[in-house]
Symmetry: C2
Subunit: 348 residues, 2 copies
């Protein structure tokens, strides 16, 4: 097992967390009555080391990459849709753009490994590692050098965002056929058989779902990824955008930036990150529960409970960014509510 | 059974709903991939008769009233907390104020039947019907005249809000001991025994929960409410604030204003409204799933699925107003996303 140089990830700040718990109990409501809003305010305090963190500077990193396994007919859409959607993100017309505008979050698109090239522009982080992955039914997705490069790039991007003043991140993705890769990663790292963690992705029919399950089984059989080594799993059955997302998670955690993961694919990236540094999970929040059957199993493995459950399965970071509104509510409750003393309300 | 004059409630606009369905299927995402955001955009179009309704003028009506049954020791808090919290709402320090500010919603407090009096002020709708209800373990909560007055007031308030330009409403409440009343209403109108729909409210312990269940059973035994007559149920085991909320639901539905209900108590009001006019349910959205065990059963009876599920149990309209952010997202997706043609993205 190769050792990848993971940045140092600090402990959660339990002192600030305790202060948040104490303040929640003085606010004018029965203790615990705001449920997960209370829990999230306490978690955010522990992550950021601030009782009331300023999360106003925020971004979603939409990481894009192509997958050689698309040639096996595992998606309802042709491979060129990856690049077409990147252009849609840059033009502001995709679902993630709409939700990010609502939540006052920047959309930054990372070309981690698309087949196509894109013109330079401010919202595009161009760091193409390769033109897509190889077909994982035939060979490893990428070299171990490229897997390391993807992680390193993700870590650097997180550090750059921290330097720009970003204090809350979401990770999302685009990549035709990347639920196939995510299913393989999830099967290997959770121990569930491929048929229990492979779903319909963009919406394939029953016959294509059976085919997709067989493809995932074959990818694992051919490549034999080492479940104890996230880097090996990434290079054998992963994706370039998945590697960058895993790196972003590690880099953000090292800077105390909370990262909201999105659906099945970004959660597969989180599984990889957690094998490289289990402490990275302390800085993760699960934005929503996806319809993909493997998502809940991956979240359970990470010990994360989704914030929203709205039958979504789009990716792009949509479920993560939508959850920003709930995080804002959690922080505002702690910051703005009156205490029993301030309001002159009798206690139990 | 007395006939209460329910205002005429229009049919949902299926033509506009079909236009919303058609537009969702042209947007740059796999069909259905935004799950409940798509469903909610279609429902809001059907309710308002507008493909992209302008929901920017919005309010939460926090209806407050006291309950005579508080004398039976069913709450963790003393009765004076009802009035203290009304003052907290008016001062802007309660949870509902924080969340309403985040969601750009007005907080209007309705004194439907508090023991205390309050000074006149812009955010207070003073329409005290009585100084609290009677103790429902001894006699009916209110006269049938007062029950009619509560419903009529609610209908009038909804009409006033419509005339002011409000196009989205949430209903919430405050009233020490009102989960006891809501449990009795829910038991009668869903058919479940009291022990299955009675919970811990503000947070009573096991012994007090058993006592509370016995109180609910006694209230139903003594008063024998007619499950086919919402007005009778309201007058025998209801609350003044619950009656006003039921009236608001009827009045808003008659004006095509979507109403987001909150937790267990506002849902009990919705059960009453639905017995008076089943069509009122077409204009309801369930903001969240409360921790109270009777809430899910009441929602199921109404055929409503909660938008959020965050272990909240505060009331005040907090879960309803928090869901405004999801409704905004639903409308913005339909309004702002690019179509496949506009973005030049290939389809299946």
């Amino acid at each position: 097992m190769k050792s990848f140089p993971v940045p140092m990830i600090p402990e959660l700040n339990q002192t600030v967390a305790s202060a948040a718990v104490a303040r929640q109990d003085r606010l004018t409501k029965p203790p615990g009555a705001l449920g997960r809003l209370e829990e999230l305010s306490i978690k955010l305090a522990a992550m950021t080391s601030e009782l009331v963190p300023d999360l106003s500077r925020r971004a979603v990193l939409v990481c894009a990459g192509d997958h050689g396994v698309a040639a096996q007919g595992v998606s309802a859409y042709p491979q060129e849709v990856t690049a077409q959607m990147v252009l849609n993100f840059l033009a502001g017309g995709a679902a993630i753009n709409v939700l990010a505008r609502q939540m006052n979050a920047e959309v930054l698109v990372v070309d981690a490994g698309c087949m196509a090239d894109f013109a330079e522009q401010p919202q595009l982080i161009a760091c193409k590692i390769a033109r897509g992955t190889k077909d994982i039914t035939q060979e490893p997705a990428m070299t171990s050098q490229d897997a390391e490069a993807a992680l390193t790039l993700g870590i650097e991007i997180a550090h750059q965002q921290h330097q720009r003043g970003i204090r809350l991140l979401a990770v999302g993705e685009m990549g035709i056929a990347n639920t196939t890769s995510a299913s393989a990663i999830t099967a290997v790292l959770t121990g569930y058989p491929p048929r229990e963690v492979t779903g319909r992705g963009t919406g394939v029919d029953d016959a294509r779902l059976q085919h997709k399950i067989a493809i995932v089984e074959k990818a694992i059989r051919i490549n034999r990824p080492d479940r104890n080594d996230g880097l090996d799993v990434l290079s054998r059955v992963g994706g370039l955008e998945i590697g960058v997302m895993a790196g972003v998670i590690l880099g953000a955690a090292s800077q105390r930036i909370p990262v909201v993961i999105d659906g099945f694919i970004s959660t597969a990236a989180a599984l990889i990150a957690s094998t490289l540094s289990p402490k990275a999970v302390h800085y993760l929040l699960a934005g929503h529960r996806s319809v993909e059957p493997g998502h809940q199993k991956a979240l359970a493995k990470l010990g994360l409970q989704p914030i929203l459950d709205l039958d979504m399965r789009l990716g792009e970071g949509t479920g993560a960014v939508l959850a920003f509104g709930i995080l804002d509510a959690a922080v505002k409750i702690l910051a703005e509510m009156a205490t029993f003393e301030e309001a002159g309300v009798s206690e139990e």
